[in-house]
Point group: C2
Chain length 326, copies 2
Amino acid sequence: MTTIRDVADEAGVSVATVSRLINNSGYVGEQSRQKILTAIKKLNYIPNEIARSLNKQSMKILGLLVPDITNPYFPSLIKGVEQCAMQHGYMLLLGNTEGQEAIGENYLHFFKQYKVAGLIKIDGTHLNTPENVPTVSLDRMNDHDRFAVVSDDFYGGKLIGQAIKETNHGSILIVTGPLDIKVSQLRLQGMQSVFDQHKITYQIYSTPSFQMEFADQVALEIIHNYPNIDTVIAPNDIYALALIQAWSQFGYVIPKNVQIIGYDGIVFGAYAHPGLTTIEQPAYQIGYQGTELLLAIINQQIDQQSSKIIQIKPQLLQRNSLREVE
Amino acid sequence: MTTIRDVADEAGVSVATVSRLINNSGYVGEQSRQKILTAIKKLNYIPNEIARSLNKQSMKILGLLVPDITNPYFPSLIKGVEQCAMQHGYMLLLGNTEGQEAIGENYLHFFKQYKVAGLIKIDGTHLNTPENVPTVSLDRMNDHDRFAVVSDDFYGGKLIGQAIKETNHGSILIVTGPLDIKVSQLRLQGMQSVFDQHKITYQIYSTPSFQMEFADQVALEIIHNYPNIDTVIAPNDIYALALIQAWSQFGYVIPKNVQIIGYDGIVFGAYAHPGLTTIEQPAYQIGYQGTELLLAIINQQIDQQSSKIIQIKPQLLQRNSLREVE
C-alpha cells in the first residue's frame, strides 16, 4: 500500500509538507503543491481521511432539517441534538427549511452529496428522505417514518380540551396549524375528543403556517374576524404571544375579555403579560433522545430495517392566560 | 485520465453501480462493492467529488460558531448566514459554544478536519482561529480580527446614554456583559461618554455571562442588591425581559418604579409588558452581509491578507419601558 512517505519521496518534499497539503493545515508553495498532487495520482495514494470516507461511505456528520430556527422552540431542540452529537464526535449540517418542501429537498440533495452519516428531520411536509441514510424524525412525523421521537400530540390536544372545559370558556376558537401536518390533526382530534364528549361547541380557524414571520399578521386577522371570541386555542406559543400583544394594543384584558392557551412551552411565554398558559413539550429532551436513537442506528445497535417510535407525554404548564377555575 | 467507465469495466459492473457506490445513492451488494473498491485503487481513479476536494482543499462547507442558539438574537443572525450560504451552494456546520472557549476550540478542531472552506465566528473569547482558513467575525470581534461585520457598539452605548439622559432617570445601574468581551467594553464606554459629559453618576454591575440560562438568576440578584434603583441598563434583551418579569412578580410597576432599556432588538421584546425599549441591531443583515464578505474572500475577490471591517449603526427602538420624556 502506498504511504504518505512514498508520496513525499516521489514529490521530493518532506512528509510534513504532504501532510500540510492533505490536511490543509498550513502553507504549501504552488510548486510543491503541483508535485504532490502529481505524485498522489501517480502512486495511487488515497489519504486516510478520504480512504475512510470512501470505505465507510459517510463522514461523522449528521444532517439536520428544521422548519423555523427563529421560533425558540426549535433552538432548544437543536441544542439537545447538538450536545448529544458533539459528545459522540459528530458534527451537524444545518438546514432551515422555512417549512417549505422545496428547500427541504434542496438540503437533502446537499446532505447526500456530503455523505451525511444520518439525518434528523423536523418536517411536516412529505419529503422523500433517502432510503439508505439512517433517519430519525423529531417533533413531527409522517405515517411512513420508521424512527421518531415525538411528543404525544393527541394527548396534548386532550390536555388543552380538559383545561378549557374547566374554565368559563364561552365561545371557543381553535386556531390550528396547517392541517396537512399530522401534529395539527392529532392535536385537533385530541381537543375534539374532549369537546365532543362534553357537547362543547367550537369554531376552527386553520392557518397555512406555523412560521414566526406570519404570527403578527395572523393575530390581526383573528382579532378582525372574531372580535367577540371568549377563548382562543393558539397553534403554538409564538402565535399565542402575538395574539396577546395585539389584543392588549386593542384594549382587551386577558384573560378577562378573552382567554388563550398556547403550545410548546418556550421560555418567552413566561415573559408575556399575563404569563402564557401552555402545553409544554420537552424540546431539549426530544432533541437529545432523538440523536441517541440515530447514533444507535448508525452504529448498528438498532437494525435500520426495524422501527422505533418514542412518544413523550407533554404537560400542562399553568400560568395566567386562562380564567381561573371556578 | 481514468473515468468511471474504466472502473466499471475493470470491476465488471455497470457504471450505474459504481455511481451508486461513489455517491452513496442506493444499494450495492458486498461483492460488487469490493470489486469496485479494488478497481478504484488499481486504476488510480479519484471520483470527481473527492478529486475536487483534494484539489480545492476544501468542500463547500462553512463552519459557524455561535455563543447561544437559545438567545433569539442569534437565530435571526444565523438565518441571514444560512440563506446567503444556501444561495451560493454552501452548507453550514453548526457549533454552539455556550460562550466557552474550550467548546469553541473543539469545534475549530472538527471544522479543520472537515476542511471547511471558511469560518464565521460569533465569539467573544480569544480563540485561535486557523491562519489559513478565511474567517469573518460577526457581532463581536477581537483586536486581531481582519474581517468582521459588527454593529457600532460604542455608538449603541451612546444611544443608550442619550435616551436615559432625556428621562427622569434617578439612580442608574449599568449591568454589563462580561467585561473581557470587547462589545461589553465598547457599549459601556459609549454610555460613559454621555454620562460623564453631563455629570450623571451611575453604578456598574458586571455579569460573567450573556447566556440565556443565567438571565433569571441574574435578575433576582439585581433585585436583591438594588431594590431601590430607578433605572437599569440591561446587557441584552433576554436579561431585560427576565428583569421585567421578576420585578412584576415583586409588584414593581415599570417604568414608573423602575425603568429599563435592553440591547439587541429581539422580537420578543415587543411581547413583554411593557414593551421593551432597546437598541436594535440588524441581526439578519449582519449574518447575510458577513457571509457575502466571507464568500468574496473564499472566491479570492478579496485578498485574504487584507482587511475589511464593516460597522453597522444600531438604532434606538422606542417602546414603553422608559419613562416618558418630560
